[in-house]
């Protein structure tokens, strides 16, 4: 658990950070909260010559709650997501999910940007952001661009982000009044990835459904969402079971995971419906 040597960079603004990425290419990686990257470095499964720490960049911080849109800086921690009262009021789903990530010590350090940008299928925020139809703002040498969360994930640890880009901001449309939301997660213990997790929004004739850690990317299903919007819970579950592709691991075999995925999804839908206005 001793990492290999690296150069440490601590730029003060986004442009400088991108400059470092351009200069060192593959050799450089950005670090936010470090809760995915540092363990990988200690295991020597991730080795890089240059570590670019984003914590001194003020532009990456802060939560803005507007009437239609919530904006989260990439370096906002899970702890800040949990304790921000305006955010909890606007989109309670975010707080509910963040409380189910790891433990308080991890949440003090872990960031929303790191969670969504890393592309780890075990992370909770990517599925959540797909459910919420968030969009990710990326900044690179050629300027800024926006990618929908639902288009961002390509495979485990592979995303639409280019090597020299940094995810700087997340924009989330505020769901209308009357939309019920729920995040349901089954895990073996505190600190574990989900055996299965579901993010659900339903109400006002609309619905959105995404699931976590049941494929090599988060799974948002148009078909499942449409079925649920029409009140067809079993159709929604069936569509989602078609879309997921879990693999066996220490949490259990595929058959178990599919069964639990359906149970977790139904429970999330129940809770979301009970909260719909």
């Amino acid at each position: 658990m001793i990492p290999a040597g690296f150069e440490y960079h601590r730029p003060g603004d986004i442009a400088s950070a991108i400059g470092i990425l351009q200069e060192y290419g593959d050799e450089a990686r950005v670090i936010a909260g470090g809760h995915s990257l540092i363990p990988m470095m200690k295991l020597r499964m991730a080795e890089m010559g240059h570590l670019v720490d984003l914590q001194a960049i003020e532009e990456l911080k802060g939560i803005e709650v507007g009437p239609d849109t919530v904006t989260l800086g990439a370096m906002v921690t899970q702890h800040e997501l949990i304790t921000h009262s305006g955010l909890a009021e606007a989109i309670p789903l975010i707080r509910e999910a963040a409380l189910q990530i790891a433990d308080p010590q991890v949440r003090y350090m872990g960031t929303v940007g790191g969670n969504v940008a890393n592309g780890d299928p075990g992370n909770d925020m990517p599925g959540l952001m797909q459910c919420l139809n968030a969009s990710f703002e990326l900044s690179g040498p050629d300027g800024n661009r926006t990618v929908a969360a639902r288009d961002f994930y390509e495979a485990a640890y592979f995303t639409a982000r280019e090597d020299e880009e940094i995810l700087i901001r997340i924009s989330i449309p505020v769901p209308g009044a009357g939309v019920g939301q729920a995040y349901q997660k089954q895990k073996r213990k505190i600190g574990d990835y989900a055996t299965a997790a579901a993010a659900v929004m339903v109400g006002n004739g609309q619905a959105s459904v995404a699931m976590t850690n049941l494929a090599d990317t988060p799974i948002w299903s148009d078909e499942a969402s449409t079925a649920l919007a029409g009140g067809d819970v079993e159709g929604c579950v069936a569509a989602m079971l078609d879309a997921i592709d879990p693999v066996a691991d220490n949490r259990g075999p595929v058959e178990f995971k599919k069964h639990v995925a359906a149970v977790v999804l139904r429970r999330a839908i129940d809770r979301a419906q009970s909260r719909a206005g």
């Binding site: 001793i2 040597g5 433990d103 089954q186 213990k189 505190i190 055996t195 639990v260």
Partner: protein, 805 residues
């Protein structure tokens, strides 16, 4: 208020002696980050060791190329078996009569095995150099299943080829280690043949790991000027380590000083000797500099001693009304690549022959076959006396299996088979003499405390509701009545590497009436400095707060066999009381001299000797202590100190009744412990608060083991659970509330009647949790399902019983 106006009860309370819930004196430093652990030790010029480990579970080591590693600046040496071989240190003896490679000698037998040892000036450089050592392997067929191993042509231990005799008798196969038999085989088989009812089941206790928060490590420091080696380490048995180091290194024992500083949990993991210790000592002797080695979490889980991995085939015979007539057990024990169990020499399967449990079973037979596989060595007593958790789990599952067969309530089945109070001392069919017990009283108290009948009624309603589709949750009631065997042990039959398993205490009273006591044991969190001072306080009438306790430095402490197997209180605690009594005997003579009466005319009164019939004429222990140093007393040497080496006449047999009430979600396999009641009888209770803490910790480890904690391997022998993501270590979140309770049945042969408690909660807790899971599904047809009961395995039970529609 002067001393004279205090009542005896008040004076006794001021001592904070036995029975007092005294706060742990250790916690002042632990809670302020002032503990001193091995990794806190920093010596001038200290070097760092790190291992190159095998990625394969079974492979030939074709070559090791050190060149690139040695070329890295800061690297001092890279040791391989070739380097250790001239010293005869490339192999080392195990505690079980086998030998074990220190560094891979031609082949590796488990994933994570030590192949080369890098020594560098800097911890980071050592890790970098490990990456640069090039090892060429040639993979060999891997065996992870002990039953396959006994059928396989693949020879795991080529060094033993042709040896048909092992340390514990004949070997039946090249992958077989020993057969150990106890009891009467023929008689048991005829009881089984003639019985009204026989229940048969395979009970598997999976492979897990003690996983102390602090991993294993050491700092070896050879002083070339004095010729003295100081070895700091996470040793549960520092004195035995000193002797072992002397025997295998050839250094004279007086030139070796072993120090166990603060230890962050042991649970059996820190009893044995590891390659890291040997390599660090060699590196320090060669370089003349201190060398530190501390393993990381993955290394700890993968390579240092595991626990359990017992396949226990059982048959239990009974009359049709439930009286047990016989017990038969054949165990296949997976020991991994080397037999490195930490058991007393004559007990290759530990005290597995306590497997008749709390029951009066007239006829029994036990056989254990030890087997080599391509897994890490070990088989230590993880928070239990040697193999006692295995034995308790076995009998407590077999009782449940028999209850199903008889269609009887499992609480009642236990009650009618308990050894009765009037049968103690009780001779068990497998050779033990149980010292004392009152099982019926404990059992009735436990059942009443949880309202057992009410729980069964609630469960019946729940089953009806489930069948009616009103709920998807089941209720399980897990029962356990366990009997432990701890306090190893009598020198006549208990030794480790030929060292008798006595223990020791030395007490020195200072002139002003305070004291220091040193023991041959070593606390790893048990609170010895708190509790042993309480024994002394009660025995010699000096306040516990005025008594310093010291352990773990072999230059100062008397020789002892260390702390594991709940042996500290039964053995060293007895030595402490006996040493204190020697002091009190001399104090009596001093008091009599000072009071100008005959020795027999004074009597002990809490903290003083008083003249018989004239209680106002007395000398307190403080006064006596001073007199011991400033008076010339005819016929007495000055000073006041004593040492006692205690060879226990018997083991002690703590027992308890545990009941777990668990809610189980059949659709997800999730569980919740709604209630856990733990009644412990550990004989005389020295510190109720420490006992309660021990029970909380032990039950939590039991929860972990029963509900998810395992060392799992894939078919290639890769460890699948090498991090705390997959290896279940409960946090406060997963830990339920416990209710503790007790009865007190003192040990008749122990000086203060104490039996030991640290391991009872693990021994009793595991079957309580497991039985709760089984009990929830009993009424739907489940008989046996192996631990750990994690979500998917519980789900699999429900699925197999057709509960998912």
């Amino acid at each position: 208020m002067t001393d004279q106006t205090l009542t005896p009860e008040e004076r006794a309370a001021n001592l904070k002696g036995m029975g007092c819930a005294r706060k742990r004196v250790e916690d002042v430093r632990f809670t302020q980050g002032k503990g001193n652990y091995v990794d806190d030790i920093k010596l001038d010029g200290m070097l760092f060791g790190d291992f190159v480990r095998s990625p394969y579970a079974h492979a030939r080591v074709v070559s090791v190329n050190k060149e690139a590693a040695l070329a890295l600046p800061g690297v001092i040496a890279v040791l391989t078996a070739e380097d250790l071989s001239p010293l005869g240190l490339h192999w080392m003896p195990t505690l079980a009569g086998d030998k074990q490679m220190v560094l891979a000698d031609g082949k590796v037998l488990f994933q994570g095995q030590e192949v080369a040892y890098v020594v560098a000036e800097d911890r980071y450089v050592a890790a970098d150099a490990v990456e640069l050592v090039e090892v060429e392997y040639e993979e060999l067929p891997v065996i992870t299943d002990p039953f396959e191993s006994l059928k396989s042509d693949v020879v795991l231990r080529e060094d033993l080829e042709g040896q048909t005799e092992g340390a514990h008798g004949p070997r039946k196969h090249h992958n077989h280690i020993f057969t150990w038999e106890q009891g009467d085989k023929d008689a048991t088989e005829s009881v089984l043949a003639e019985a009204d009812v026989v229940a048969e089941e395979m009970i598997y206790y999976h492979r897990t790991h003690p996983c102390p928060l602090e991993t294993c490590g050491c700092v070896a420091s050879m002083d070339k000027v004095t010729g003295k080696l100081t070895l700091y380490g996470t040793f549960q048995a520092p004195h035995a380590i000193r002797t072992v180091v002397s025997l295998i290194s050839g250094l004279a024992e007086h030139n070796i000083r072993v120090i166990s500083p603060d230890i962050g949990g042991g649970f059996g993991n820190k009893v044995g000797a590891y390659a890291g210790y040997v390599c660090s000592v060699v590196a320090s002797i060669v370089t003349g500099k201190p060398v530190k080695w501390v393993e990381d979490r993955m290394e700890n889980l993968m390579s240092t001693a595991f626990a359990r991995d017992y396949w226990m085939q059982g048959k239990i015979a009974a009359t049709k009304d439930g009286k047990i007539t016989g017990l038969w057990c054949h165990t296949t024990a997976d020991h991994g690549g080397f037999d490195a169990c930490a058991d007393p020499t004559k007990f290759p399967a530990g005290f597995m022959n306590i497997c008749t449990g709390s029951y009066d079973i007239p006829t029994a037979y036990l056989a254990v076959d030890g087997v080599y596989t391509n897994k890490a060595p070990g088989g230590v007593a993880y928070r239990c006396s040697f193999r006692v958790t295995e034995a308790a789990y076995f009998i407590e599952r077999m009782i449940e299996v028999l209850a199903i067969k008889l269609n009887m309530d499992a609480a009642e089945l236990r009650r009618i088979n308990f050894i009765r109070k009037d049968q103690f001392p009780y001779q068990s069919a497998l050779g033990w003499e149980y010292d004392s017990g009152d099982y019926h009283t404990a059992w009735d108290k436990a059942l009443k405390a949880v309202n057992y009948e009410g729980l069964r009624a609630e469960q019946a309603q729940r089953i009806a509701d489930f069948k009616a589709g009103k709920t998807r949750k089941l209720l399980g009631i897990g029962l356990t009545h366990f009997t432990e065997i701890v306090g190893a042990g009598p020198v006549k039959n208990c030794d480790i590497l030929g060292l008798g398993m006595f223990d020791s205490c030395e007490i020195r009273i200072h002139p002003t009436g305070s004291a220091i006591a040193r023991l041959g044991t070593i606390s790893q969190g048990q609170g010895h400095a708190t509790t042993f001072a309480q024994i002394i306080a009660s025995e010699i009438g000096l306040p516990a707060d005025d008594i310093t306790l010291e352990e773990g430095d072999t230059d100062t402490a008397p020789y002892g066999l260390g702390t594991y197997g709940s042996r500290s209180t039964p053995v060293a605690g007895a030595a402490t009381a006996m040493a204190a009594r020697k002091i009190r005997a001399k104090a009596q003579m001093i008091a009599a001299y000072l009071l100008e009466v005959h020795d027999n005319d004074v009597e002990w009164d809490v903290d003083r000797f008083a003249v018989k019939g004239a209680p106002e004429r007395f000398k307190t222990m403080k006064e006596i202590a001073f007199a011991a140093y400033n008076q010339a007393i005819p016929g007495l040497e000055p000073g006041l100190e004593a040492v006692s080496y205690y060879d226990p006449p018997n083991m002690t047999y703590p027992f308890g009744a545990y009941i777990c009430v668990m809610e189980i979600d059949v659709d997800t396999g999730e569980w919740e412990v709604r209630q856990f009641y733990a009644l412990d009888d550990c004989g005389t209770r020295i510190n109720p608060m420490i006992i309660e803490g021990q029970v909380h910790g032990g039950v939590t480890e039991a929860l972990a083991i029963a509900m998810g904690q395992e060392i799992a391997y894939d078919d290639m022998g890769n460890v699948k659970t090498g991090t705390l993501m997959d290896f279940f270590l409960p946090t406060a979140w997963e830990t339920p509330n416990y209710t503790t309770d007790h009865t007190v049945t003192p040990s008749p042969h122990h000086p203060i009647g104490a039996k030991g408690v640290g391991e009872s909660p693990n021994v009793g807790g595991v079957p309580a949790f497991s039985n709760a899971v089984h009990d929830a599904f009993r009424h739907f047809g489940l008989v046996q399902s192996h631990m750990p009961h994690d979500h998917w395995r519980i789900w699999k039970i429900a699925n197999g019983l057709g509960m998912h529609g």
